[in-house]
């Protein structure tokens, strides 16, 4: 039974990649190969970045005799990467899966349904964790010490990290599900994205200093980890062929997973059937309804769709957020930026060009209208059956795009021109 359910989950995952939903036919072989190549390319780039990061830690830590700390840091980063990358998918797959009612109506214990969903997620955590730990392992093997046993133990630790990340993702996914049942999904997604981007840009901008600090403060970090985060210490030592500590680390990961699984199994039925539907009825007041010309009606509909769709908003609304942030940051950090620009000879004359380039880049990320026709999806019949021409529909979508982007970009350009003119 579990094998059937797990293979169903994997098939659903891959079918989503190779079948074009709208045309309901298989993508061509070429498209599948292209997607596979793109995935491999992205993985290679991320793994390369991680490898480069760990290269700057491997030899310094080895010279300080803190090889275990090297692997503990890799484990910590792998854990964070896996959890961040999978928490939303975990919440969606465990609690918002469309086939939950169907499977729950069958003679399948809820804990088995839960397990069948967790196994593919485990594979995902293995992949995300592997993107960090495998490069770290390879870098260590090439530049410090190569050992077959060590390699195998390090890969075992990767499995432990994936299991631990799964346990943490499940807990966070459960909390997220509770939160989303109370909050507006789009708002929650945008909030998550803003926080995530904030942290990402901060870490990215401070990456050099952070790496230097990790090397310079290694003794303090080692002391903190070995005292307060003992499982990571055990993992680090386990990667250096300390069998006892490796088993302890794997045991801790297994126990955490088992505990989370037990809690979620006990609450799965209630959580999976918890409705986010509030069905709060308000009194209908027809007097407040307003009329609008057909094109404006479509623009209004586009706005509601944009704000009501987390995926649409977070993918295509980021540019709007960035333009607003640029306007504010450009004014606040004016002096710092001008002094930095003045250090490069002749660069001050290029500031107007730079502003245009940055603004153009941001505008290029705001392609709000581009996917709006395909995003009609199964609702396309509505516009097709209404007495409005294709030209008017496209104009309305374009008008919505302009209304969202032109005022904001205009203000941004004007403010920056004033500040740096």
């Amino acid at each position: 039974m579990i094998r059937t359910l797990v293979s169903l989950r994997f098939r659903a995952l891959f079918t989503g990649l190779i079948v074009q939903r709208q045309k309901k036919n298989k993508s061509s072989k070429g498209t599948v190969i292209l997607f596979a190549f793109l995935f491999l390319y992205v993985f290679a780039v991320v793994a390369g970045m991680m490898g480069f990061t760990f290269y700057s830690l491997a030899q310094p830590y080895h010279m300080l005799g803190l090889d275990w700390l090297y692997f503990s840091m890799a484990g910590l980063m792998g854990l964070g990467f896996a959890v961040l990358g999978s928490v939303f998918t975990t919440q969606n797959q465990l609690y918002d899966a469309k086939d939950n009612p169907l499977l729950l109506s069958m003679p399948i214990p809820p804990r088995i349904i839960l397990l069948s969903r967790m196994i593919p997620l485990l594979a995902m955590n293995l992949l995300f964790g592997g993107l960090v730990i495998v490069p770290a392992t390879v870098v260590y093997a090439i530049f410090v010490e190569f050992s077959i046993v060590g390699l195998l133990l390090q890969l075992l630790c990767l499995a432990g990290i994936a299991v631990l990340a799964q346990a943490i993702s499940c807990l966070l996914g459960w909390l997220l599900h509770l939160l989303l049942s109370k909050l507006n999904k789009s708002l929650a997604s945008v909030l998550y994205l803003v926080v995530f981007l904030g942290i990402y840009f901060y870490v990215y901008s401070q990456a050099g200093e952070i790496l230097t600090a990790i090397v310079m403060e290694s003794q303090q970090i080692a002391s903190i980890l070995s005292k307060w985060v003992w499982p990571l210490y055990a993992m680090g030592m386990g990667c250096l062929e300390n069998g006892g500590l490796l088993l302890a680390f794997l045991g801790i990961c297994a126990v955490c997973f088992a505990a989370v699984y037990a809690i979620l199994s006990a609450t799965f039925l209630r959580s999976a059937t918890m409705s986010s539907v509030s069905r709060k009825r308000q009194k209908l007041n027809l007097k407040t309804s307003k009329t609008a010309p057909p094109v404006n009606a479509i623009v209004g509909k586009e706005l509601r769709k944009f704000l009501g769709s987390p995926v649409y908003l977070t993918n295509l609304g980021v540019g709007l957020l960035m333009a607003a942030a640029l306007t504010v940051a450009g004014v606040i950090f004016r002096e710092d930026l001008l002094s930095a620009f003045s250090m490069i000879p002749g660069f001050t004359d290029l500031i107007p060009l730079l502003i245009c380039a940055v603004l153009s880049f941001l505008i290029s990320t705001m392609y709000i209208s581009a996917p709006s026709v395909s995003l009609e999806g199964k609702n396309i019949w509505i516009l097709k059956s209404l007495p409005v021409s294709g030209k008017d529909i496209l104009n309305a979508k374009l008008l919505f795009h302009c209304r969202m982007t032109v005022p904001l970009c205009g203000i941004c350009g004007f403010v920056l021109a004033l500040a740096y003119g």
């Binding site: 539907v277 069905r279 007097k287 309804s289 009329t291 057909p294 509601r304 769709k305 704000l307 059956s385």
Partner: protein, 236 residues
């Protein structure tokens, strides 16, 4: 009102509808009956301009759906079998959206929304998001949206699916009233008893071909519609 002449629609190599001819005059309710995959939905969608077609002509009040689709659509309304409405809108927002497209005045739309909302027991539920509505509630919203601009021709694909008994009864009254006022209706259904009671005309389609059409008396004769349908399925 609606003239379908030698309508043919092919999906790749499969002929979904083959040389279908059907006329519906003002004041007529025509029931469109056929097995699953016979071509009923394809025909209805082509009539309201959702699907392009290969051969034939479809006209609504003299306007061709291919060359003058906007004029055709002003006079008609379409209700699909599975109403995929805008989930991000509330019921009332959706109705106002449709009313804006049809340029229905504020007074008229409010009056019609109140009337049909009360008739179908949906008034308070119109403030809910469509994503929070059940299938039957969505069906009712789609129905009100179809009636809001007082179309001359209504095309419905299995309209009774998902409706509660009261709403079904009210819908039959609305259909009868619509045709009494000179409108026309073409609807597909699997509920033959409803078709027998409601329809002036019947069209039976099998494998994309029209196998029987005419008034209820001509098609049914002394037998029941169910018997006629089953006999046709067996013989052809």
């Amino acid at each position: 009102m609606l003239r379908i002449e030698h309508f043919t629609k092919t999906y790749r190599s499969k002929v979904a509808v083959d040389d279908l001819t059907l006329h519906i005059a003002p004041g007529e309710i025509c029931g469109f009956i056929g097995h699953n995959g016979a071509g009923k939905t394809t025909t209805l969608k082509a009539c309201c301009g959702i699907l392009q077609f290969d051969k034939g002509a479809i006209t609504v009040n003299g306007h061709s759906i291919l060359t003058d689709p906007i004029a055709c659509k002003r006079d008609l309304a379409y209700i699909p079998d599975n109403p995929d409405l805008y989930e991000f809108l509330t019921g009332i927002q959706y109705l106002n959206f449709v009313a804006d497209i049809y340029e229905v005045s504020k007074t008229d739309r409010n009056q019609r929304i109140a009337h049909y909302g009360n008739l179908l027991g949906m008034t308070e539920d119109l403030t809910l998001k469509i994503s929070e509505c059940s299938h039957g509630m969505k069906q009712k919203i789609a129905l009100i949206a179809a009636l809001i601009h007082k179309p001359r021709l209504i095309l419905m694909d299995e309209p009774f699916v998902g409706l509660d008994p009261i709403a079904s009864h009210q819908l039959k009254n609305v259909m009868a009233q619509h045709c009494a006022e000179g409108g026309a209706i073409l609807f597909s259904t699997h509920v033959l008893e409803v078709a027998e009671k409601l329809c002036h005309k019947i069209a039976i389609i099998k494998g994309g071909k029209l196998v029987a059409s005419g008034t209820m008396e001509d098609v049914r004769g002394q037998a029941s519609l169910e018997q006629v349908f089953l006999d046709l399925e067996d013989t052809l």
